[in-house]
Amino acid sequence: MIGNDRLAVRKTYKLYVNGAFPRSESGRTYEVTDAKGHFLANAAWASRKDARDAVVAARGAFAKWSGATAYNRGQVLYRVAEVMEGRHAQFCEEVAAGEGLSSSKARAAVDAAIDRWVWYAGWTDKLGAVLGGSNPVAGPYFDFSLPEPTGVVAVLAPQQSSLLGLVSVFAPVLATGNTAVVVSSKERPLPAVTLGEVLATSDVPGGVVNLLTGDAEELGPWLAEHADVDAIDLTGAPAGRAMEFEREAAGTIKRVVRAPAGGEPDWAADPGITRMTPFLETKTVWHPMGL
């Protein structure tokens, strides 16, 4: 070291579970490198017990999060965008390093990821009107249908797009009032950890999102079979295992979002609502109309 160059303080990358930053209960870590193979960090290697704890946390947070007003959830999601914006440079660095992108491409991905939160923040209080409504039944009844969150959603995040892809799969889970257990990209987990720090300093209640760094191949079966998980997004499931995970999910009639055919989609494209509807139930309520 020359002159007054300061020696950087490195970050310890941990899991984000129930609003806290634990190491893996297994004590395991794994080496994360950049796209060129240079050492970046040792990430926590989440175990099945971490996944189990994350599900407990997500279930615990569900009542309050799903019961919050849609306006409140929208503001919380918007707050995530605000706080992310403040860490813009850090995300750019991590995305560029992890995904091997040019700085301008990395910036575009981070911009899009932040904007995605804004998109979903604006959806929370529109879904009821767009997906629900009153049903003109042939009788003296008032009958209406409303979308409601499915519950605890396990998300195997995309392996390639470590930030935009990640946000694209779990922001809609939150926007619809579900709580999430997210397994990050195995080889590119660092943006997920930083995003956990953003979530912790936004207004997202602890437990609503739980971010696990580690191996979707290892955690997938536990989450697919877990009886207290209501839905699973297999986007980041390793090729060749997705069918098996889907079979396991069938045991408890989970809602399943399959891995996209033909590899990861263009995450920058207009997301539409197709990533929200799989995690919404429709509840229909009937009541007589009489004097």
């Binding site: 003296p140 009844y141 007589p288 109309m289 009489g290 004097l291």
Partner: protein, 331 residues
């Protein structure tokens, strides 16, 4: 027969003078208590009640049961004329029909009662002497009930003195809708007293009460106050007796007997014109309160044109072919 208007009857006391049967003997202790009791009765969901009534209306009755049902219905008719144009001649003609509804068939049962205005009760009484057919008179400023309590009581006494052994009174719907339930109760108690030995039928005029919750509450006021029958309507207001209203009133008499041991009769009146309608009511009795009420002492039809339809259907059953209006007598 003159009656001095009783000045006491004009003053209102918040506490009812005559307590209802146990276990309800304290519910009339104050306006507030009575209101709390009546509003504490289970609510009635109109849509559910209508659906149930409609379902009971789909029961299919055939052959032997139908013959029995028609004869039972005839024996339950309060053959009624309540017109400004009524005359002694009209009442005598009605009484003749009451005794022998179908001149071609002496096995036809006679009706339960003839129902007239109080001033003609004497005519009916004379015409029906020795037949066992009751003379019912409407009273209490029928049909509106808009007169002072004293006038109403005088009206009742007059009808009884004229020979009525059944009095069909109207409740004070104004007081009821204004929430003065104890006034309604007290008036029924007073009318019951004025009836002496005559049976008291209490007309709720459900078409003016509008909601089934009100029908249930009014039924309970009438039963608690000592009415012997509760009756739907005067026949002068539409809608009159509907199946859902009858259902709620039958549930009331059922629940009242279960709680107090006292059986109250029920009389739908107005709007029941066909044998089919009458049979629907009998089915409803059968499945709601049970066969104890399948008796003219406990169930009446307030009607006029119903009787002819019952007779036509009876003729059809007997002869096997359809009959026509010229084969029954005009009223």
């Amino acid at each position: 027969m003159t009656h001095v208007l009783d000045p006491d009857a004009l003053s209102h006391d918040a506490r009812a003078l005559v307590a209802p049967l146990p276990p309800y003997d304290d519910v009339t202790r104050s306006d507030a208590a009575f209101r709390a009791f009546l509003h504490g009765l289970p609510g009635v969901d109109q849509v559910g009640a209508e659906a149930r009534a409609a379902q009971l209306g789909t029961r299919s009755i055939k052959t032997t049961s139908k013959a029995w049902a028609i004869d039972t219905a005839i024996s339950m008719v309060d053959l009624t004329t309540l017109e400004g144009a009524d005359t002694p001649g009209k009442v005598r003609s009605l009484a003749a029909k009451a005794k022998q509804p179908d001149p071609t068939d002496p096995t036809t049962p006679k009706v339960a009662a003839v129902c007239v205005y109080g001033d003609l009760a004497g005519v009916a009484r004379e015409a029906l002497q020795g037949t066992g057919i009751h003379v019912a008179a409407v009273a209490t400023a029928f049909p509106s009930g808009r007169a002072s309590k004293a006038v109403k009581l005088a009206d009742v006494r007059d009808a009884v003195d004229n020979g009525a052994d059944e009095i069909d009174m109207v409740i004070d719907r104004g007081a009821f809708l204004a929430g003065r339930y104890l006034d309604v109760y007290d008036e029924i108690v007073a009318v019951k007293e004025a009836c002496g030995d005559a049976h008291l039928k209490v007309i709720l005029e459900t078409g003016e009460l509008k909601t089934l919750d009100n029908v249930r509450r009014a039924s309970w006021i009438a039963m608690l106050a000592g009415g012997d029958f509760i009756k739907t309507s005067t026949g002068k207001i539409n809608p009159a007796a509907t199946l859902p209203v009858c259902l709620v009133m039958l549930e009331a008499v059922r629940d009242f007997r279960a709680a107090t041991g006292r059986q109250i009769g029920m009389k739908p009146a107005g709007g029941i014109r066909t044998t089919k309608d009458a049979i629907k009511h009998l089915v409803m009795i059968n499945e709601t309160v049970g066969p104890d009420w399948l008796d003219p002492d406990w169930f009446r039809f307030g009607a006029s044109s119903l009787l002819n339809d019952l007779l036509l259907q009876r003729q059809k059953l007997r002869t096997g072919h359809y009959s026509g209006p010229d084969y029954v007598t005009v009223d």
